[in-house]
């Protein structure tokens, strides 16, 4: 556990996080200010956290905030670190981290597609990645209603008796 | 050459188709039993072929159709040349080289049609099939070459007839034991059975050359496969296992040899194509060369035999 404790103290000293915790075994979570993310990532990459496992996002709709979560992994120490930062939900703009982790290009596109967060500096941001021909607000935002979308797009099966015919086909055309 | 030859040739084709397709069905059952399954019906292969012929098909242009016809035509011509228990529809045309190179017409047609579909998987499959052919053919041809030198004949029918009359001891597989082993291994490669089936690998390259075939094209491919199997097994049977004095003996031996390859392939994993080449150029090639040198320089097994 020594390496964990020294890592936490290092992080506290170097990044001055708003808050740190240990959510699980050999995992560290640190909440930083949005403008501290870049420096923190560069610092941690130097310390051996060479892998960006994922970049994801959480929609805190009551606080009107998006929380970006960067999870890093160190292959030398075997420690995961979550870096969390909250940005304004109404103005979801953030800078890209592709200069530090080039692989973040796809994660940022994913977050953009599902939450609408814009990462300035990522050239491919507006190319579609997962959703093909999406025509609504980003689907993982809390104010998106999947049931309504599903009802409007994908017809439901209305009556149970039809199922008994076992032949399918469009009886109701 | 008169009309009767062609009638005989046609009858040979029909008979071979029925015989080989039945045998394939039975061998599917054998494979199933190896895997502790009940297996398909013995006539399942007929159903599959007729079903495929019944369906609609898609075509990717004239070479896609032409290649299929050329393949089946070439293979059927080769079947007519194969001597079966002393019977030949066109006597005298059963030269080893004619048969093995006429077989290549069929393969070229199939490769052409497959590549003509425009599907890259088909091209990859063809590339593998041709590489596989280069691997198995050299050891086999060396052994056959030795045999032609030793017996002074390149006629498959004559070579088969020479082995008869001495029982098992007359078989070339016994006279040239290393050559016999090479022949059986090469037969596995020729038939595309495991472990040498990387060119049709269904899960990896979506059945390779067959990827775009459906309907009657696929039916043609199945018929072609039956005929090709017959040619390849018959070639090895005639050259190394003495053919057959009567048609019944021939059929029995044929069934045993073919089922034997099925059983071997039933318990084998698959070689990568470069592994197959390496294998053939290490073990069977060395065996074939040793066998060739022994026969050519000492006559052991051919000139000196009881």
């Amino acid at each position: 556990m020594n390496s964990m404790n020294s890592m936490i103290s290092d992080i506290k000293a170097a990044l001055s996080p708003l808050e740190t915790s240990e959510p699980a075994f050999r995992q560290i979570a640190a909440v930083v200010k949005p403008d501290g993310i870049h420096g923190a990532l560069a610092y941690l990459k130097n310390k051996g956290f060479t892998q960006l496992c994922i970049l994801t996002c959480i929609d805190w709709i009551e606080d009107s905030q998006f929380e970006l979560v960067y999870i890093l992994f160190s292959w030398t120490d075997g420690i995961h670190i979550q870096l969390r930062a909250r940005i304004d939900r109404e103005k979801p703009f953030f800078t890209t981290v592709t200069d530090i982790f080039p692989g973040a290009r796809y994660y940022e596109r994913e977050v953009h597609e599902f939450f609408g967060v814009e990462f300035c500096g990522n050239e491919d941001l507006y190319k579609p990645l997962f959703l093909e021909l999406w025509d609504d607000i980003p689907p993982l935002r809390k104010d998106f209603d999947p049931q309504a979308y599903s009802d409007s797009k994908f017809p439901m099966r209305e009556n149970a008796n039809e199922f008994l015919s076992m032949t399918g086909g469009g009886d109701d055309e | 050459m008169n009309a009767m030859n062609f009638v005989y040739g046609f009858l040979v084709l029909v008979a071979v188709f029925i015989f080989q397709t039945t045998l394939t069905g039975i061998n599917r059952k054998v494979t199933a039993r190896l895997q502790k399954r009940y297996g398909a019906r013995w006539y399942q292969q007929f159903l599959d072929i007729f079903k495929a012929m019944r369906k609609d098909s898609t075509s990717h242009g004239w070479v896609f159709d032409f290649g299929v016809i050329m393949a089946l035509g070439g293979i059927m011509a080769t079947v007519i040349f194969i001597p079966v228990a002393g019977f030949e529809a066109f006597p005298g045309l059963d030269n080893v080289f004619v048969i093995s190179y006429l077989l290549a017409v069929g393969m070229l047609g199939m490769a052409m049609s497959a590549a003509g579909s425009g599907n890259p998987w088909a091209s990859i499959g063809v590339a593998r099939a041709l590489t596989n052919m280069l691997a198995y053919d050299i050891p086999l041809m060396i052994v056959i070459f030795t045999m032609i030198f030793a017996f002074d004949s390149a006629s498959v029918g004559e070579l088969a007839a020479m082995q008869q009359g001495m029982g098992v001891l007359g078989w070339n597989a016994v006279r040239m034991p290393l050559g016999g082993i090479v022949a059986v291994i090469a037969l596995l490669g020729m038939l595309g059975k495991k472990p040498f089936d990387s060119f049709i690998a269904p899960a990896e390259i979506a059945s390779g050359p067959m990827v775009e075939y459906g309907g009657k094209h696929l039916g043609f491919m199945f018929i072609l496969h039956e005929f090709m199997t017959f040619i390849e097994v018959s070639l090895i049977l005639n050259l190394f296992f003495g053919g057959g004095a009567t048609i019944w003996e021939y059929m029995l031996k044929y069934a045993v040899l073919y089922t034997f390859t099925t059983i071997i392939s039933g318990v084998m994993p698959r070689f990568k194509i470069d592994q197959a080449v390496k294998y053939f150029y290490r073990v069977p090639l060395a065996m074939a060369v040793v066998q060739g040198l022994v026969v050519i320089f000492t006559g052991l097994g051919v000139k000196i035999w009881f």
Binding site: - | S59, A115, G118, F145, D274, L293
Partner: protein, 609 residues
């Protein structure tokens, strides 16, 4: 008409074509067509005057069947290829020079094949080498021309040496007499034999002289590659033929060590032939350029021809001689087909094309039939000749050479299929959507060559009858021919019946195909792609490193060209050293060394006399 007059007319016509081309490029191109067709007609009409001896000033000619046969092969390649000339004139740097040299080299080959003595032979040989070297450098690279010329020069010098040595012993330049005079001294005979055949080997591209073929064929003008491969390479076969027939190699080396009944020097040359089959095949498999691929295939086929001719027996020899014709037809047709494609698309790189069959179906059929012949598949000509070579080998029990022959034969399926698949089949590239088939004038020679290839496969006895005459004139037992049938000790081949049965099978398959319901036509892009949508045909075309898993098995093998490069670097270094020691910037020093060397030679001559 005497040969000398005929050649003089050809050379005058060549000079005329120079001026015609200078006036009008296209007309100059048509002039080469007319002149080469005239030459072909003249040579064909000479069949009757076989056996004549003629001389003109210092030159001696003798009209032999073999010379006639070779001339016909050569002129077929020249005249058919010349049909392409008018259309390529605007791509040439020096069109007038090209046409002139084209016809001069053609005249040179005729003179060489009808040569009655060594001086004539050598003069015309050099004419061809020089004129073709200047043609090759009009293509893509000059380096190719150097490689070609250097290797030809090695052969030429060796031949000159052999001729002089033979003259010093037997005192005559007349081909047959000069060689038979050597019978008394087998040591000299061996040196003469090896030195003489060296030029043949280098011309035919036998290992280790094969490096010039891919360079020269690959970068020669597209209209000259068919001639190089179909024609000029066969000059080497002529030398090989002279080495074993005019030079009675089997008799002179009769007392030497024999391997399977073949004298050791000849067996050694056969092994070289076998090696070139293997190397040609392996290298052809991994080429990315269609013309280089076909060039390496010429190396491999040269191996078959050499082995066949060197066997000098009833069957194998006939096979070698016939393969010469078949390969000339097939290879010229294949090169012409590639040239036709290059004419429309501007490239010969296989990975830059695809699906040309949908735009150039006739060219495709030409290429298909020529590669079927090259790979030795019935019912084409190549099969019959390879069959004869195999039968000859099996008769003698030459195991290792046969193994190489089989390797080359099966390997050829691999390399000939590659351009077929990459250039003609597969996806049609967006860039080539509007490509059209070549015009009738370019299609004509290709179709003629194709029909000849087919005829050679169905009625092989037409060619084999000439070969039997050659065999008789060479004093060996001719191959037995019955009506449509070739008989050998190991069995017989009835090519016509094989063709008929093939047609029968094809007819059944065709009927079976058309009685079933018509199939739905779909586009090339509508293929199974694991249900993914792909819109770019270039990405869906498999052509680059086609046999990657197989190529990987031998990509570390040493390269002959690199070996030559190392040697040349070594020689350059040595030259630098010599220059530094003996020249050093002061002429006086150089003169001193020359005088010193001269003194040493004179003294040594005096002492050892």
């Amino acid at each position: 008409m005497s040969i000398a007059v005929f050649l003089a007319i050809l050379i005058i016509l060549a000079a005329a074509s120079f001026f015609v081309t200078a006036a009008n490029k296209k007309a100059g191109g048509f002039a080469t067509v007319a002149v080469s067709l005239f030459a072909l007609a003249m040579v064909l009409s000479m069949k009757g005057s076989v056996g004549g001896e003629q001389s003109f000033m210092y030159l001696g000619f003798s009209i032999t069947t073999v010379g006639w046969y070779f001339s016909v092969v050569m002129l077929t390649a020249y005249s058919m290829t010349s049909f392409f000339n008018p259309f390529w004139m605007k791509k040439m740097i020096y069109p007038a020079g090209y046409n002139f040299l084209y016809l001069v080299s053609m005249a040179g080959t005729i003179g060489m094949f009808f040569a009655g003595d060594f001086i004539t032979l050598f003069i015309f040989w050099e004419t061809v080498v020089w004129s073709s070297a200047f043609i090759i450098q009009q293509g893509k690279s000059r380096k190719a021309s150097y490689v070609y010329y250097v290797l030809s020069a090695v052969g030429s010098m060796a031949t000159l040496f052999a001729i002089m040595l033979a003259y010093s012993v037997s005192g005559t330049f007349v081909i047959r007499d000069a060689f038979t005079g050597l019978a008394g001294s087998p040591g000299t005979a061996l040196v003469v034999f090896l030195a003489f055949i060296l030029s043949g080997l280098s011309k035919m591209g036998i290992f280790p002289f094969h490096v010039w073929l891919p360079e020269a064929h690959g970068s020669a003008p597209h209209t000259f590659s068919p001639v190089l491969s179909g024609g000029l390479v066969k000059m080497g076969a002529f030398i090989a033929f002279l080495s074993v027939t005019a030079f009675p190699a089997y008799e002179i080396f009769g007392d030497m060590l024999k391997i399977m009944g073949i004298p050791a020097p000849i067996y050694f040359l056969m092994l070289l032939g076998a090696l070139s089959i293997i190397i040609g095949t392996l290298m052809a498999i991994k080429q990315e350029d269609a013309k280089r691929l076909l060039a390496y295939s010429s190396v491999a086929n040269g191996g078959y021809i050499l082995i066949g001719i060197l066997m000098l027996d009833q069957v194998g020899f006939a096979g070698g001689m016939m393969h010469l014709m078949n390969h000339a037809l097939a290879s010229a047709a294949a090169f012409l087909a590639i040239a036709a494609v290059a004419y429309r698309t501007g490239t010969t790189k296989m990975s830059e094309m695809g699906g040309m069959i949908h735009r150039m179906p006739v060219t495709y059929l030409v290429y298909l039939i020529s590669i079927i012949s090259m790979a030795g598949i019935p019912p084409m000509g190549g099969f019959v000749s390879k069959w004869l070579v195999f039968q000859g080998l099996a008769d003698k029990g030459l195991l290792f050479i046969a193994a190489a022959a089989f390797f080359g034969s099966i390997g050829s399926f691999m390399y000939v299929f590659r351009p077929l698949s990459a250039v003609f089949l597969g996806q049609l590239f967006t860039r080539d959507k509007d490509v059209r088939e070549v015009g009738f004038f370019m299609m004509f020679p290709m179709v003629v060559l194709t029909l000849l290839t087919l005829a050679a496969g169905v009625f092989p006895n037409i060619i084999l009858r000439v070969v039997t005459e050659i065999q008789k004139s060479a004093g060996i037992e001719p191959v037995t021919l019955a009506r449509n049938t070739i008989v050998t000790t190991n069995g017989f081949l009835d090519a016509f019946r094989v063709f008929i049965v093939f047609g029968f099978g094809f007819a059944i398959a065709f009927v079976l195909f058309i009685v079933r319901r018509k199939s739905r036509k779909v586009g090339l892009m509508d293929t199974y792609t694991s249900a993914e949508f792909i819109h770019t045909p270039e990405l869906l075309h498999y052509s680059h490193s086609f046999y990657a898993p197989f190529e990987r098995l031998y990509d570390k093998a040493p390269d002959t060209m690199n070996m030559y490069k190392k040697i040349s670097a070594g020689i350059a270094e040595l030259g630098g050293l010599v220059e530094a020691v003996f020249y050093g910037g002061k002429p006086a020093k150089t003169i001193f060394w020359i005088m010193a060397a001269g003194m040493v030679f004179f003294l040594a001559g005096g002492v050892f006399r």
